[in-house]
């Protein structure tokens, strides 16, 4: 995040109004997609964004929404930059963001992306707690869910399928 001057605070305020299209419980700032904003003295705005996944199809839509939202708030000149480094990680999700995910019915990543084997070949038997009933009597059905960032699990206790926001 950039040092918060009065100008960039207002910009962040606008950007916080944009939900992630695939995980609408979170806005694009708390998800960490907006890496930096800059307001130049002549009023031009630069926004640095980072993709969550290389092929995330929502990225283009998010970029359009950033431009539209800033235009609607009187910022006429907007430049978007894609930054790759450091790579986005779910470690950046705050506790409040994780709580919002859970309330929305998506299990939050419950561990940091710790060092594993260079080529991880076996899934851990880690059981993800069900966001509905909290039971750990769950089973991973697929590592790939409705979007690249989510896995599919099933809760044997409340018999609900649910999604997990994968740690990456």
């Amino acid at each position: 995040m950039s040092p918060a001057g009065a100008g960039t605070d207002a910009l962040f305020g606008v950007l916080r109004g944009i939900p992630d299209p695939e995980v609408p419980a979170l806005d694009i700032v708390e998800l960490g997609i907006v890496r930096r904003v800059e307001l130049s003295p002549d009023g031009a705005v630069t926004v640095e964004v980072t993709p969550t996944y290389s092929g995330c199809p929502a990225m283009r839509m998010i970029e359009q929404e950033i431009v539209a939202a800033l235009h609607a708030n009187g910022y006429d000149r907007v430049e978007l930059r894609t930054v790759y480094s450091p790579a986005w990680t779910t470690d950046w999700l705050s506790d409040s963001a994780k709580a919002k995910l859970k309330a929305y019915g998506i299990a939050a990543p419950d561990h940091t992306v710790a060092e594993q084997a260079l080529v991880p070949l076996t899934s851990s038997v880690r059981r993800v707690a069900c966001p509905y009933c909290g039971s750990s009597n769950t089973e991973r059905k697929s590592e790939f869910g409705s979007t690249a960032c989510k896995a599919i699990h099933y809760c044997h206790h409340c018999q609900q399928p649910f999604e997990e926001f994968k740690a990456i």
Binding site: Y53, Y84, A87, L118, V119, S142, E143, G145, S146, A148
Partner: protein
């Protein structure tokens, strides 16, 4: 990004060529995997392969965009993907081979993923900041990919007599296409160490990982033998032309089309 600022003395042509290889491997394999969309053996696998395809095509987009910037001739990722012929493609032949059955697709994916995760691990420490950033992101995704494909190789190999037979056949037929992953030419030698890992340095770890999985899958690693080559220099199988024809027809028929 000004590539000349940080190319660590590597000639621009070599860096461009190398970025094409990274992009083309992933674009062609991503396109192949997307052929499963709507045809997966079970719904979860249909979704899984489509997601992996999306990741690979996304990675290709980033690598090819950077390639276009390094080349400096005004070609963007779309121009590089849609307006090059097979002879200008720099992917290994492994990724352009037809899918075959699900087992064959998974074996090809595993052989590639196990290599890709090692390559990207090395590339994320490249002196070229932007390339390293793209690789770091792709590396995280590749770790999910290899876990998925590796688990399926074990499940199918150690499955029924029928699945074991089919997957062993796939391993035997695809193995001769893996030599290209570790072959080095002048481009690799120019990039070695400062930007990219030396291809041959990845082979022992790859071999250990792959053979371990084959054993756990009750499969027999093939004996050493002939290895195909040429993809990196534009010599491809007859399959790539058909793939590109399908992938490129819209862009070539309606240049600049928007919808």
């Amino acid at each position: 990004m000004r590539p000349t600022d940080e190319d660590a003395g590597v000639p621009r042509e070599a860096l461009f060529e190398y970025l094409l290889r990274l992009g083309d491997d992933r674009l062609v394999l991503g396109h192949r995997l997307s052929e499963w969309c709507g045809h997966g053996p079970v719904l979860e696998e249909d979704i899984a392969l489509s997601n992996v395809a999306l990741d690979l095509i996304g990675q290709a987009t980033h690598f090819l965009r950077l390639a276009g910037q390094v080349e400096g001739q005004g070609r963007d990722e779309d121009a590089l993907a849609y307006f090059r012929d097979a002879i200008d493609y720099r992917n290994v032949n492994l990724v352009e081979l037809p899918n075959g059955d699900y087992g064959r697709t998974i074996v090809r994916q595993f052989l590639f993923d196990a290599w890709s995760v090692l390559l990207l691990d090395g590339l994320q420490r490249a002196t070229h900041t932007e390339l390293a950033g793209i690789a770091a992101k792709a590396h995280k995704e590749a770790r999910y990919h290899v876990r998925h494909s590796g688990e399926w190789v074990i499940r199918l190999g150690d499955g029924t007599e029928e699945s074991h037979r089919r997957v062993q056949t796939a391993v035997d037929e695809l193995w001769p296409y893996t030599g290209e992953l570790f072959a080095a030419d002048q481009v690799d030698r120019l990039l070695a160490r400062v930007i990219a890992p030396e291809p041959a340095a990845l082979e022992p770890v790859w071999r250990e990982v792959v053979i371990d999985v084959l054993h756990r899958a009750t499969l027999t690693p093939p004996a050493e033998g002939y290895m195909h080559s040429g993809g990196r220099q534009g010599r491809h199988t007859e399959h790539l032309g058909h793939l590109l024809a399908e992938m490129q027809i819209l862009a070539r028929s309606h240049p600049g089309a928007k919808w």
